[in-house]
Symmetry: D2
Amino acid sequence: MYTFKTSVKLHDTDTAGFLFFAHQFKIAHDAYEDFMEAVGLGFGRIINASDFLLPIVHAEADYKAVLGVGDKLSVQLRAEKIGKTSFTLAYNLVGLDGSSAGKVKTVHVCVDNIKKKKIPLPEKLRKALETIA
Amino acid sequence: MYTFKTSVKLHDTDTAGFLFFAHQFKIAHDAYEDFMEAVGLGFGRIINASDFLLPIVHAEADYKAVLGVGDKLSVQLRAEKIGKTSFTLAYNLVGLDGSSAGKVKTVHVCVDNIKKKKIPLPEKLRKALETIA
Amino acid sequence: MYTFKTSVKLHDTDTAGFLFFAHQFKIAHDAYEDFMEAVGLGFGRIINASDFLLPIVHAEADYKAVLGVGDKLSVQLRAEKIGKTSFTLAYNLVGLDGSSAGKVKTVHVCVDNIKKKKIPLPEKLRKALETIA
Amino acid sequence: MYTFKTSVKLHDTDTAGFLFFAHQFKIAHDAYEDFMEAVGLGFGRIINASDFLLPIVHAEADYKAVLGVGDKLSVQLRAEKIGKTSFTLAYNLVGLDGSSAGKVKTVHVCVDNIKKKKIPLPEKLRKALETIA
């Protein structure tokens, strides 16, 4: 499990006074970016200097508690499934009281940078994902 | 079915050159807001002047084609399920060529504005949803 | 003058109940993108298939009235200054009552796509800007 | 001076490959929120439980260097001007190499929560701002 600490910013909330639902995905992705950076696979390099991309083909979220501006969160990231050409990440947004405020899943496929055809996960990525499986 | 026309803005895309996945949810919600406004249930009034709220408890999306800046979209909105205290909206993001670029679902519960307890859908909302069922 | 019609979306607002200040810039830029598309200079083509880019080097905004979710706006876009290698756009966000809710300015320089050196504005762009000067 | 550390996220960038200009304001505001939280004036409390609000009436930014996904930033926040009923914050976004990638200014007025009339800055806020003047 990889843990990313963040907090709900004013621009993450809306008039109703809580986190806007789409921004829960944004916060989850921030955790994924932080993990990838930590394992030497930062997005700048992947997008501009690698031969693969990792587009998201499915995403889903459950909302369990309201989150307001300033609320501190630990996003717990796990690799739920590691396939040959795809993987599924599961994120648990945990509040200060230790309870889950929301969950997110994203399914990624690995494609080559030119033809956008599915290719096997690069070894470096597979090994990194296995550390959080 | 309710149709909302929009286009992918520069700030909806990211360095990879395509729509950032979380923003597909944002675009879907824009269509929902437009529908609610059209049926006299605009969000300003619901949040500030009604006795109910409609928080999202689940959301999911599939990504079928890459979308880039300037791409024109018709978001086709349907009420997939209308329950006693909840409803599910289905959104199909259709490109100029008529094919689906992505799909979204959001599940909403109706709660009272004070105690946040589940309450039956207001008649006006139920009737509006039935027109797009 | 070029006019772009839009409305304040729920995700443009924050817990205070009004448009989040940074999103006034986003709304202004939406009008600029719409104008560029209308004159055959859509951003997809500029970024991916032209030899110039138009980075923003300065931006500023004044906030004159609060804007809430659902508020309809006409963004009135003018080219305030057209220089040899740069131009300044002025945006007036006008509400339904005809009064200004906010103003934005953005200063753009034209650079070549490779070395990012200043170059003269392309004729097509200059002529398009002159139509809204 | 108050320093807030952050990094450019994928959703902060656009197809051109750099930070979308409006998001420089968002990043600056994140630093302001962090500062306010640190001095006991978190936005959740101000908006929901105080008798004053601090709307932004003017904002401006200069862009000095391109910022890409993953770039680490220190946002250096200072109170440039502390008036009777208003204050101006200046933000310097400093990259890892110590040079400025961008600057932001925001002008805030203090208004009462009911009539939205200008009122003097609360003592606690004034003292907090003086620590970063």
